[in-house]
Amino acid sequence: MLLKDLFAVTMLLSIYGLLSATFFVAMDAVDVAFTEASVGAGISTLLLLVVISVTGRRERRVRHKPYAALFVVILTSMLLVFGTSDMPYFGSADAPIHNHVAPRYLNDSMQEINVPNIVTAVLASYRAFDTFGEVVVIFTAGIGVLALMSVSSKALSKSQPLNRPRGLYEQHLVIRIVAKTLFPFIFLFALYVQFHGDFGPGGGFQAGVIFAAAFILYAMLFGLDAATKVIKPAVIELLAALGVLLYGSVGIVTLLNGGNFFDYDYLLADPIAGQHLGILIIELGVGITVTCVMIMICFGFSLRRRAYEQKVAIRPKEGAV
């Protein structure tokens, strides 16, 4: 990481995301690879790019002395390597991790839940409460970004022309047409990922990110104004909250039916059907929340960037410190 150009660093980070997702495929973690593919290579690159376009591409010359940091890092790594001497070897079947709850998940989930994708079963049924917490964290992060990035509509004068080069969406006819033909397939594929998560890799998290990526693509190609016309920011915020509410209300319903929180056996008369319904609904909730939070984050950044550019255009001295 000696590169001074943050843009190049972002590109390399995107490559890193691609490679780590390939590693996850090789390690049998198809669901994780799915998520990492859409998040690590897609959304995080995009966010970093937006931020770099605000903060400037070049890193200033640094005068730090890295020796203290190097000392800390080498000391920590030696301690960690020393600690690994007790670790089970790679791939050994009798490692402690494979002995506690994992056999139950692997052996009994077909009888108890009847969902072929065991990761989905663990995520959405056995550890539903945990996942609920994660969804709330995502939602909270979305609210935080919204609070930090929100721009008052007065500050954003839409009529004022910007003296920046015309955007991609005005220049490139070819890419607009190709993207237009792609949109239906992306949405169809996202729906497939959402509802096929029980049987193959996929689920609410991945589908949410793909949906969001499609909307962000639209915003990039046709401009933010067109995108906010398609899906209003207020609607997105409402939907993000509704997704969490949908997830939580499943737990409340199971409580009212006499079971534990998120015990889907009590959702319907037939426990297996109840499990299926519960997983379907909470995956839907997760998908809605993740989609809306990701769109919210990206729109927030883009709006802020535009407001910042306008401010810089009005008062160029102040902006370019």
């Binding site: 080069p165 955007g167 890799p201 693509l217």
Partner: protein, 97 residues
């Protein structure tokens, strides 16, 4: 034969990564990332067949889509003023200093 193809794609990926490291311009890096993404799609498809469970090709489809989106994103934001390429990337840090 599949394994041979996998290894070949792997070598191609290594070449693409070295181009992404070397640069020298921004667009070379974008090109390398794009080409690497395409190769990753192929690698995942091939790996599915090597491991004997080819039903996980969904990941490869996601890759193809996300690759497209990220290239568009890079170009979209490289169009803004701060990213203007002045003949070479390696010239001294911007004029505002």
């Amino acid at each position: 034969m599949i394994i041979a193809a996998t290894l070949a794609i792997f070598c191609a990926m290594i070449l693409a990564i070295s181009r992404a490291f070397m640069g020298p311009t921004l667009y070379d890096r974008i090109l390398a990332v794009n080409s690497l993404g395409t190769k990753t799609v192929l690698l995942i498809a091939l790996l599915g067949f090597v491991m004997g469970r080819p039903e996980f090709l969904d990941i490869a489809i996601v890759y193809a889509l996300i690759n497209f989106i990220s290239v568009i994103a890079v170009l979209r934001y490289s169009d803004s003023n701060q990213f203007k390429e002045n003949s070479s990337e390696n010239e001294p840090i911007g004029k505002e200093r």
